[in-house]
Point group: C2
Chain length 360, copies 2
């Protein structure tokens, strides 16, 4: 895998909107050198190479054959994740892949087979758990300072379902199960996984609502976590952007809000978030005399996308471990699939039922 | 029923904490005269009579026999609603009763039989729908200015489950089905009824969590409304007070927050609420270039408890109609019972199934 000194040499595969957002976040990292890029679209890769100061190749095979490339950052469409990961793993290239890792049983099994035992580092992009407010919620849970958690709510919405055209892959339940659950909700599913692990059971309702496509556009799910915490997940593609979490504990409740306008500017996202703590400020034996106190908590800004790719890069050199690898990323998809099944079959679904089908 | 001029003469029945909160709200009303009161507890009724400037009686029969009393304001424990309402209706006395109207099939049928065809005005206390922010949400829905609704979330929590003692009626699933659903959630169920009607179907999960009682302490429900709106209801008795609603529409989303410290001071509650609108402030064909705009909406303060009892008083004189009468109050309880059943039987429950059992 080349020398162990210097920057970790990565190549971008898939150079669309998100590939560029990612590159903007990591290409100036002290630990990463963005050395090459590939897209089937020559114009796109020429522009990417110029903008981010790397070379370009015209095939994935060429990239995989290069000795000077250690790992890939893959942001191709979801249904192309499996073949790209297989090719990379065969060539001994490490892989970072955007979420969702994949959404079909066939693809998830292919990816599992390709990655397990291959020796390559595998990371899946679930950067939202690195937002400063999410980290702080976890710290406060771990420290015990907010007491015992009872309930958690997480919502992710935006308006993009209102613009879907006939034939858009996001309108196809096979490619985008549960609609906004696959594209938006999975971020919050991972945040909930970060806080409380994989839920045991999912109940859900959903409905369409886009003009041109029949896929689910609004989905709501109840999640039962092993420790007894009850979770709610809302994912809505028909409304202006929302990214919120509410955490209810015995000693305090927390509300986290992120201004979705800043979602793609990962160095500035945290500066546009707010974590509020509500607790009983003045207590009394008479419940009517108790007074609540609300305080806005200070958050030290981070860079969720850059941190995530840097962790991947360090893991390539054996200096770190990937936080979201195969197991967590597949578990997150299993929750999406369980919710989509719960909507379709009008029953609650055990996540273990889905995981068993995925061979996970 | 006495003369039709002057103030409407009411008597308070049940003089505990909530009876006093209610009286504080309505006893200085221009349209109401609080003339008498009854509680089995002589000390309690003496203090109430002195504090609110009314006379007192030592039995419900005495109150019902008085010609100068037009209607009752009933805040006795839930399981005593039915006999009090039966006695009042037999005597031709109008009835305002605190929520929940009742929680058992037997009581709900008795109340329905007593009220229907009796000619008495019947009102159930669901004042939260009169909060200025809730009225404004409804106005904005009706006007179309926020577009088409897709999803609504409503949460009511407080810490009182943490203090429940063994033997407390709130710890008994028969007297308090679904725990905080009966005591807290029902307020939000009525708010959702005000905005979207009675849901068709309820899915729910819940769990205990109090030290001394086994009843549900945390409950979360998904509600499917006829128009296609998906609702979420959270009711949690193990965390500092929360009273929030989130409404997601195509042109904007709204967040409503109420400082629970001010719940019982109905003249000041609205001053401690906030309604925030989030919309796309700067649009673009590139979704990443869209900028959200958040604005705090002005709310003209009202007095939810006083308004509600004044409406009841005017209805007694035929000058108004009761907004929450028998049908809506029974429907609200049916949603609670459907959610409690969904929790117990691990299935979604049609509200019509419960309503049929209640004879409604």
């Amino acid at each position: 895998m080349g020398d162990e000194g210097g920057k970790v040499r990565l190549a971008a595969v898939g150079l669309g909107r998100w590939g560029r957002v990612m590159a903007a976040a990591y290409h100036r990292s002290d630990v990463i050198e963005l050395r090459s890029c590939f897209s089937r679209n020559p114009e796109r890769r020429g522009r990417f190479a110029a903008d981010f100061g790397c070379d370009e190749v015209s095939s994935l095979e060429e990239l995989c054959a290069r000795d000077d490339i250690e790992g890939l950052v893959v942001t191709v469409p979801n249904d192309q994740h499996a073949p790209v990961i297989e090719a990379a793993a065969r060539a001994g290239k490490h892989v970072y892949v955007e979420k969702p890792v994949a959404v079909t049983t066939v693809d998830l099994r292919r990816i599992g087979d390709a990655v397990r035992g291959s020796g390559v580092v595998f990371a899946c992009g679930h950067s939202a758990r690195r937002l400063a407010g999410v980290r702080e919620m976890r710290r406060m849970l771990d420290s015990g300072e907010i007491g015992t958690p009872s309930m958690v709510e997480a919502v992710f919405s935006n308006e993009r379902g209102l613009e879907l055209k006939d034939g858009d892959w996001r309108g196809d339940p096979a490619q985008c199960p549960g609609g906004p659950l696959t594209q938006l909700g999975i971020h919050q599913i991972d945040n909930l996984n970060f806080l409380f692990g994989t839920p045991a059971r999912v109940s859900a309702v959903g409905r369409p609502g886009a003009v041109a496509v029949a896929n689910t556009m609004v989905a709501a799910a109840l999640l039962e976590f092993e420790g007894g915490v009850i979770g709610y997940l809302g994912a809505d593609w028909l409304t202006p952007g929302a990214f919120t979490m509410d955490l209810y504990c015995t000693a305090a409740r927390l509300r986290y809000e992120l201004d979705f306008s800043w979602w793609s500017n990962s160095a500035d996202t945290d500066a546009h978030t707010r974590l509020v703590k509500v607790e009983i400020g003045a207590n009394s034996s008479d419940p009517d005399d108790r007074v609540l106190r609300e305080s806005v908590l200070a958050l030290a800004p981070r860079d969720h996308l850059r941190e995530e790719v840097e962790e991947y890069a360090r893991a390539i050199r054996g200096q770190d471990e990937v936080e979201v690898g195969l197991d967590v990323s597949v578990s997150n998809v299993a929750v999406v699939l369980a919710a989509a099944r719960a909507i379709g079959e009008r029953r609650s679904v055990e996540v273990a039922e889905v995981l068993a089908e995925l061979g996970a």
